[in-house]
Amino acid sequence: MLRLQKLVKTYKTGDQALKAVDLEVPEGQVLALIGPSGAGKSTLIRCINRLVEPTSGKVWLGQTELTELASSALRRERRRMGMIFQEYALVERLTVMENVLSGRLGYVGFWRSFLRKFPQSDVDEAFRLLDRVGLAHMADKRADELSGGQRQRVGICRALIQNPALLLVDEPTASLDPKTSRQIMRLICELCKERGLAAIINIHDVALAQMFVQRVIGLRFGAVEFDGPPEALTPDVLTAIYGEEDWEATIAHVEDEDQAEVAE
């Protein structure tokens, strides 16, 4: 469903963030992108919806090639890619409802959005999503009144109301406590399953990634170093991705984790 072909990004400073990355994500697959800071994870995600312009290479979303699109066609394609951000990236002075409805901006005209007169179906869907993540009663609160976990839930609603085919998720748990991190990851993965969405999740927490995803990609210096199921992440593989360290405490033993959760 998503296919990257020799994707290259070289920044003006000469840093090569991505070196000819090839990647194919089938429909409905949730994959985790791991790798050290500066390996190009964020750049890779942003090159897909062109918040960062790739230097060369192709990105196919379904039948559409994205890197050649003019701005209005790109806007249309961006509607099919929901994005969830590190540090939530909610517009802090807007209300929760406005933040969620901002996910519909690609579908409504300027004046409608300016006057906050969204179609009834959008408003209904916003309430349904907020209810799904347990925040329906917060709709009229300002985003900066919410806690970290609540904000990220609003961020998830904003991405989902776009009715996307693909979720791009950039470090969703980076500023959350361990419990909230798990809840957020579980929520994202559940919602992907419910709606049959594919997702690329950038994540630092290897154990957390192993708990929830079906496939892991390891990125190092802008190139794919590992591509396989989460169980195949051995200390050797992690050393290849991150460099030498004692990995025994980092890798989750999947069964143990499940039990730990039940106990919780």
């Binding site: 919806n49 918040l51 806007r75 249309r76 394609e77 961006r78 509607r79 890619m81 929901g82 994005m83 951000f85 540090e87 990236a89 909610l90 517009v91 802090e92 002075r93 807007l94 406005e98 901002s102 996910g103 519909r104 901006l105 690609g106 579908y107 300027f110 959005s113 300016f114 961020g155 904003r158 776009q162 791009l168």
Partner: protein, 273 residues
């Protein structure tokens, strides 16, 4: 641990001082001494005529004493008409100036506008800021004749330079990621500004606008001195006739209105945070 043993030994037991901004001592002292010499020389060029000061003290005293008995009544119709004109000029010029400033501020923010538009908008701001209000007013009075129209255009023009520059700086320092999130949803440019940028800069815009209304009102009192209408014209006449009591009344009114505006703006700013 990283520094070798001997290197560390040379550092221990010695006082630590911040490195001076100018490294070479002779240059540093030369700059300081040069500045002091210049300062003394500059002060010595200011001539003071003590006789004139002594004579002027009497007039100054009368002026100050006039504030104890301000005369609101004998020129009340002139004062009323002048105040009304000033307020109309202030409101009209602020609304027009702010309305024009917003698009120019967007154009003058490098993270929102492309380079050519950025350069054009920055030049407009530079021109508006380079020309002082009085100079613009003199020019516009020559074009439009005496009266509040010249004052209205002057204040609108000055508002653009002030507001666009400061608003553009606020736009440039906004949180990029919040705006990026709106862009990622497929919003068009206008929607991106409305949802991603505007909420972030709104408190600053309101605060600056209130401040500018304040400035415009005070300026409108000055512009009358060069014939551009408003309370300044009345004030000027009062001075020319040595009617210090009437002048005092006008100044007191100006002070009261400015303080009221200041109070109002503090309330509004507290509310929009």
């Amino acid at each position: 641990m990283n520094t070798s043993e001997t290197e560390l030994d040379t550092l221990l037991g010695k006082p630590w001082k911040k490195k001076p901004f100018v490294k070479r001592p002779w240059l540093r002292w030369l700059l300081i001494a040069g500045f002091c010499v210049y300062l003394v020389a500059a002060y010595m060029t200011i001539e003071i005529n003590w006789m004139r000061v002594y004579e002027g003290l009497e007039r100054g005293k009368q002026f100050v004493l006039a504030f104890t008995s301000p005369n609101f009544t004998s020129r009340s119709s002139d004062i009323y008409a002048g105040m009304l004109e000033s307020i109309i000029m202030t409101v009209a010029a602020s609304v027009v100036g702010i309305a024009i400033s917003i698009p120019i501020a967007l154009g003058a923010a490098r993270n929102v506008a492309p380079l050519p538009i950025y350069l054009i908008c920055r030049s407009i701001i530079a021109i508006s800021r380079a020309l002082q209000e009085i100079i613009v007013a003199i020019l516009l009075v020559a074009i439009f004749g005496f009266g509040p129209l010249a004052g209205f255009f002057t204040l609108s023009f000055a508002t653009i330079g002030f507001l666009s520059k400061l608003l553009a700086e606020d736009i440039e320092s906004m949180d990029r990621v919040q705006a990026e999130a709106i862009k990622a949803s497929g919003a068009r440019w206008t929607q991106w500004i409305n949802y991603g940028v505007q909420p972030q800069v709104m408190p600053r815009l309101i605060g600056l606008s209130m401040y500018r209304i304040d400035i415009n009102f005070r300026e409108s009192a000055i512009l009358g001195l060069v014939g551009a209408g408003g309370i300044g014209a009345t004030l000027n006449t009062a001075f020319d006739r040595y009617e210090y009591d009437t002048a005092a009344a006008i100044l007191i009114l100006i002070i009261v209105i400015v303080m009221a505006l200041e109070y109002l703006s503090s309330i509004i700013r507290a509310r929009v945070q």
